[in-house]
Subunit: 283 residues, 4 copies
């Protein structure tokens, strides 16, 4: 077995864990946090996840988003993408957060921000994009309306506590009502309702759709490829830490992407370049 | 005259210059970059500038934004705010940028991104929010349509090269057509058109409206006040550098602001807190 | 005093009343319902009222719309315009209606539709655009939050029942807190709050701003002028009824307006024209 | 074979043809124009077509809509729905029209309106929703970019002139590149490009997706059922004409739909009802 010399990491969840490993002294080799490149997370996580998540929900359920109440748990880049697209499809969008700053941003972006306890009573569709576990759990299932639809577009299959949901149903009362849609029948004693879970609570855009479009994955993979090259060139000097994608790579990918879209942008004039680095002019 | 012991800086432009001073060894005392606090620039610059800039344009001109073509120069937080609100008012929005990453973000946000050379021919209203000089200059004025409206919401009065515009008019052919609106008559030989400049090319939200609403300035000023307190408490250990607002202050301001808006958010359960710092669970 | 021979009517409210007069046999001369021309109400009422209403609210209060909760009473063309622009400025928008069809349209457009009784407790800003009276009344004032802002952009000054509000304050506790903003102090016994009324409950876009932009009034006035000409030409054959603006006038105004905006559109090919009137081709 | 006594018609295209038949004296029995009920065309055509059309395009191609240039041909209810949703997904939307009024509405809604001749050069994705033939034809294919995607969501399979496209390719150079996506290779001599056609130019939401969600079809089918009942009850008095769905049916369906969504709306007070029918009060 060859020794691992270095790695690159594509996902937010992966980077969080690798940083935790670094902090615990458990990281054995250098890693490039590809996810944290601007040309990755600002595009893949936002525009990619935004579109493909709704695509997964629609393919699985063919529900009308216009007029529906969609609860988005988490307002990071993925959550921003999902919330923005859900509104763009005519939904009323509710956002839950645990971070005050992001919560405030969601408010100012025109979304209704509230606790999941409250949102659970109102939502028609719930989409978790948090990177955490048990975002939807027993007390929320208990409060939901009949026919609530649950999907996860964050990570793994633990954002929705399906074990708790299964227990509420007595463990047996489940059936597939459409491909990728599991119906949980919560008996009368525990609230009496149907709860619909898409793609077993796994990533809905991969489970019920085709994942992100090529037009965002190209930038993510360009980061992967160029980061791998960078690691090879600089490997000997790297320590077992999480490294950022170098800014030059990030910027170059953006430039190349614009080229492929035939978008031309402005260049600084010499006078503008000089002005930006000066501090002696002004009113 | 008492010695200056420390300072805080409110604006993007100011922080850029102070960092340039630090780099040149010209900074004599510590500065807290209040502008760079999330609770400042993500709100004041985006939602504040977004609303107050259009407010200034409308008060000065009473032009209908729906159906108009608005060119926004710069897609930083201020530019994002202006572009988003302009679209929200029904305008077709064009964005110019010099940074590929921001340009790409503008494209993905659904805006048409192009050079100012091209935009100059199409726009009805031009708004500069760049922090640089000469963003609108002679060749652009030459290409503009009759009746083009120019406003600056970036910094100072140099984003629009008014000297060049005055020279094109022969220096005399100007008149105030409405309060805060100066009409420049470019003679036939130089293109033959009227160009309307709001508030002498100074900040349009201050020059032609009332500046930002209190509901964003409260956070900016909270950063000022708490940063000043922090400087007093930590002054003896600070060097003549540009400091960031401490993250605890930033987060506390967000929390307090949500409180005043009666917005309640979720808290992590103990299991969630543990999960976020772990790296041993997962599929 | 010369006899009135015919008239034209600009407003929704006016047309409703003239039709009521016609129904009651009280109409003495022919009227052209200029308001009902598509090039009038679809533009003036929607894009004009949308922009100028928010302009009035912002000028009077300088309140931040982003993140605020705006209740729009009425979802006709004026209400659609106000709701759409309020959302475009970052507000959470609530809509009240008495017509199920319009209510459903508002829901599908992504707005939260509810009764005023419920909305009164949640709103920060209330805008009436109904054409009816007492839309905001005693029970609503009683439920409102401290600092609620009330504006009318519908008709007259009776959409907000200011008499009831004055009675709740004991008739004396009022003061102008900013130009065009009257603060009513509801004493502790009656709820204990401040309620802010803009422009005395009269049309906020006329009372606190400049009314509609010229770029929509041009179409309204073109309808007036061409309808007046049409009345003169056809006067002898007209009865004391409410007449619609002839479709040719309406369409010609749209065509002319596009011309002034340099917007070119497609023309039907002969094959397409033939196809549209046929019923023999198809799968 | 039993005699047909009456019918109901679901689609815009169908109603246009039936009215043409009535005009030509070719209609043999009464028809109810279900399509023209407000609770049908304002919802099914707009929100249903809006969502399901993009659903079809995404399923067939998995293309990223954010940042793409989508040309929508036709700005009736279907076109409004498609354009609105395309913008909501982050696309730059261009609209073509042959009707000046609708073109103007599209402009004021913030879309770029232009001729198809011009749009053909700029678009990435073209969606026809006109109800007419040859909307995309030879001269447009010739001007398109390599990789242009074509879809029809209007009627039949004649909005895109596929015969002309096939002739440009020499009739042979076609292949299925994904399910429901046919690639036409236009040889170098005729422009040298690939043109991708979804679902053979037939309705993309039926051909490549699942059609409209149940939550809009419910209203359309309610109109069908209640119109059929109405025809049975009134059949003897009906002539061979196209009849509108009675307003009471339309309104009742809206009321019932709101009920199923748990949306409660306001009712007129007696004073308000009286006011609406009066013409004696006012300022």
């Amino acid at each position: 077995v060859p020794e691992v010399l270095a790695g690159t990491e594509e996902t937010t969840t992966g980077v969080i864990r690798l940083r935790a490993m670094e902090k615990d002294g458990a990281l054995r080799f250098p890693i490039v946090a590809v996810n944290d490149a601007d040309t990755k997370h600002m595009f893949d996580n936002r525009y990619g996840t935004g579109q493909s998540t709704l695509d997964g929900v629609i393919r699985a359920t063919n529900v009308l988003l216009a007029g529906s109440r969609i609860v988005v748990a988490g307002y990071g880049y993925c959550g921003k993408g999902v919330a923005s697209r859900a509104r763009g499809m005519g939904a009323q969008v509710y956002v839950t957060e645990i971070n005050p700053l992001r919560a405030l941003e969601a408010v100012m972006d025109g979304f209704r921000v509230l606790t999941m306890e409250e949102a659970a009573r109102e939502g028609d569709i719930f989409i978790t994009v948090t990177g955490n576990r048990d975002v939807l759990r027993k007390e929320h299932f208990a409060a939901m309306k009949d026919g609530a639809i649950l999907a996860n577009s964050g990570h793994f299959d633990i954002e929705i506590d399906l074990q708790a949901l299964a227990e509420m149903t007595g463990g047996e009362r489940q059936r597939e009502v459409r491909p990728f849609v599991q119906e949980y029948l919560v008996p009368e004693g525990a609230g009496g309702k149907r709860v619909l879970v898409i793609a077993e609570g796994r990533l809905v855009n991969l489970g019920a759709a085709e994942g992100h479009p090529a037009a965002v994955m190209d930038m993510s993979f360009a980061n992967q490829a160029l980061s791998a090259e960078w690691v090879v060139r600089n490997g000997s000097s790297l320590e077992p830490k999480v490294y950022n994608v170098p800014a030059e790579i990030d910027r170059e990918i953006a430039r190349l992407k614009l080229d492929t879209m035939n978008v031309e942008i402005d260049r600084l004039t010499p006078a503008q370049e000089e002005y930006l680095s000066s501090w002696t002019v002004g009113t």
